[in-house]
């Protein structure tokens, strides 16, 4: 049998995946939350077509204009305008791009690094495990936000720098999960069989072990995405995130802080957008966790 052929193990994993997916689909709250997440993603992708106005277009005549339903408001500017007269709804729609892009980019980069490090650490053991585990211990020694703030102070604000600052520490989470799962899997018969057939280390790690430990990694990564979105918003709130005039939810909340006496809407709506997205991701990822990892199902 060639090592690249589909093995019964892969078939079993495939049917288990489908069963878990069906279990997730049966959880109505989790599905509804997943739909909300998808709507946010669609909103981010099609922002130029959905947004009613240019998010950076200033109009001082509309400075701090109230929401459409409030006295002094206009329905064309549904959620009102900020201190520079920019349409808040359009900025929220464009801001979704930043939050979702950074959240996804950080999780993808961190998960890829975490998978490679965790596989190497758990499968190769020895000095590789010692070195990776020590690096993980050291990075876990930093409170996340403080580590990111330190890095942002060093690298300066900007989109790619935020992704790097958050991914530098984020990879340790999937790395620990993958290491633990690999340690448990490396002694199973099918891995022994692949070794006996003369498969290379990389083949065993990537083709035999990885497909069978991917579920918990996906679940953990989804849960972490909500956390990353809040961290990005926190950095932007502190002025260390994406720089003006680019719309980002965290900086929009910060902009409105100076006007809470007279214009509650400037801070409230962007914050509500963060809450909705993060809540939807959290509920959906809990549903994923319950379906894919029965240890957590109550």
């Amino acid at each position: 049998m060639s090592l690249t052929e589909t093995t019964p193990q892969t078939h079993a994993a495939d049917s288990l995946f489908r069963r878990n997916l069906a279990m997730f689909a049966a959880n109505r709250l989790a599905m509804a939350s997943a739909v909300v997440v998808v709507l946010f993603v669609v909103m981010a992708i099609f922002a130029p077509w959905i947004a009613p106005h240019d998010p950076n277009e200033t109009d001082l005549f509309r400075r701090l204009q109230p929401p459409g339903w409030a006295p002094g408001g206009e329905w064309a500017y549904l959620l009102g305008c900020d201190a520079l007269g920019r349409d808040i709804l359009s900025r929220i729609i464009y801001g979704a791009r930043i939050s979702i892009f950074i959240g996804l980019a950080v999780i993808v980069v961190a998960t890829m690094i975490g998978i490679l490090a965790g596989l190497a650490s758990g499968y190769l053991r020895g000095w590789v495990d010692v070195v990776i585990s020590r690096i993980v211990d050291i990075l876990l020694g930093f409170p996340y936000l403080i580590f990111a703030i330190g890095l942002m102070a060093m690298m300066g604000p900007g989109l790619w720098n935020i992704i790097l600052a958050l991914a530098y520490k984020e990879w340790v989470i999937p790395a620990r999960v993958v290491r633990g799962e690999t340690l448990a899997t490396r002694e199973l018969e099918y891995v022994e069989a692949a070794r006996a057939l003369g498969a290379s280390r990389w083949h065993i790690m990537l083709r035999e072990i990885l497909p069978n430990i991917l579920s918990p990694v996906i679940v953990v990564s989804t849960i972490r995405m909500a956390h990353v979105i809040i961290l990005e918003a926190s950095l932007s709130f502190l002025g260390l995130g994406v720089q003006p005039p680019t719309a980002s939810w965290g900086s929009m909340v910060a902009d409105g802080r100076a006007f809470i006496l007279e214009a509650w809407w400037v801070s409230t709506f962007p914050g509500l957008a963060i809450l909705l997205l993060v809540l939807a991701i959290n509920v959906a990822s809990q549903g994923l966790r319950d379906a894919f990892d029965p240890r957590f199902a109550e």
Binding site: F142, A153, G271, L275
Partner: protein, 335 residues
């Protein structure tokens, strides 16, 4: 736990602390911008004076040597001079630290006092409306961005209802002599109850904001561990003996159910450190977190470096205490 095991765990801390210090040092060494130029600012000095300043700061030495000097100085709490304050960094940090510790401790108390009863009640009334509300509440608690929640609280209680102050630690008219730096204690030491009340009013909203995510997490942990304990044989036995429900719950079940809660609380206290920067910025709280954020924008790197190192070392030590506490409280777990 044996003394040998404890010593072994303490020794394991050394490479982690060294690694953390190395990362902080490298972070700041690679930061763009020459510290000497930042210090000089707009002043005009001769190249000789500049070289002298560079020598004085040790910046003319190789990077490896500078790292060991940095570690040697850090052990003696010598972190150099704050460019902005023109005073030793350690002194500036020490001034701001009590405000941050006080806020973190009050947030911890708020979280524990709210989370434990709610978690226990949710477990006792499993699947009831209260339990479902508690679940929704805890989900909201971990999903709410702290800075936004803080602003909402400000809008409601400080702006609309005008019953709590907008920012600061105490009103000008209530200031008391500094003894410990913890205003809740200093006002009591001064015997000034009005000032104590004022300090309580100032700390309430920041503490609730900082403690909210922790409350949500601790509530879930308490609920889960209480449910687990209630399924144990010894609880069934205590029930069968005819003990009152209250006695079974609070004397037998709660004691064991709180073990994970205490351990998670110790770990989560470390995460309060990160939240401090946000909450102190929102509420104008004059603590270390706000100082760090201000220092980043002032490019006051010695202070940022010292504060990040301080936070990281505290975080490592808190996690260590959490580990030990868990082992001490739960003898079945071995280090």
């Amino acid at each position: 736990m044996s003394l040998g095991k404890l010593l072994e765990r303490i020794l394991q801390l050394v490479p982690v602390l060294l690694g953390v210090s190395l990362i902080v040092f490298v972070m700041m060494a690679l930061t763009p911008g020459d510290p000497v130029q930042i210090m000089i600012g707009d002043q005009s000095i001769t190249p000789e004076q500049e070289a002298e300043l560079r020598r004085g700061l040790g910046l003319d030495r190789p990077l490896v040597e500078r790292f060991f000097v940095f570690i040697g100085n850090a052990v003696q709490f010598d972190f150099g001079t704050s460019f902005y304050h023109r005073r030793p960094v350690g002194e500036v940090i020490a001034e701001r630290l009590p405000a941050t510790i006080e806020l973190s401790l009050v947030a911890l108390i708020v979280a524990l006092v709210t989370a434990i009863p709610l978690g226990v009640l949710a477990a006792i009334k499993k699947n009831s409306i209260f339990d479902r509300l508690a679940t929704v509440g805890s989900l909201l608690g971990v999903s709410l961005p702290g800075f936004w929640f803080g602003i909402l609280l400000l809008m409601l209680f400080a702006v609309h209802l005008q019953i709590l102050p907008v920012s600061g630690r105490i009103g000008f008219s209530s200031e008391v002599p500094t003894v410990t730096g913890f205003l809740l204690i200093d006002t009591l030491l001064a015997g000034n109850l009005r000032a104590f009340g004022d300090a309580c009013r100032h700390i309430l909203l920041p503490a609730i904001t900082l403690g909210l995510p922790m409350t949500a997490i601790l509530m879930r942990v308490t609920r889960t561990s209480m449910l687990e304990v209630l399924r144990q044989d010894y609880v069934t036995f205590a029930d069968a003996k005819g003990l009152s429900r209250r006695r079974v719950l609070f004397r037998h079940a709660l004691k064991n159910a709180l073990i994970p809660t205490v351990s998670v609380a110790a770990i989560e206290t470390g995460s309060l450190l990160g939240g401090n920067m946000i909450v102190e910025t929102v509420f104008g709280w004059p603590g270390l977190g706000r100082l760090v954020v201000e220092s980043i924008f002032l490019r006051n790197y010695p202070l940022v470096q010292a504060a990040v190192l301080f936070y990281a070392v505290t975080y490592v030590l808190l996690n260590f205490v959490a580990d030990i506490l868990y082992t001490v409280l739960n003898p079945r777990v071995k280090l």
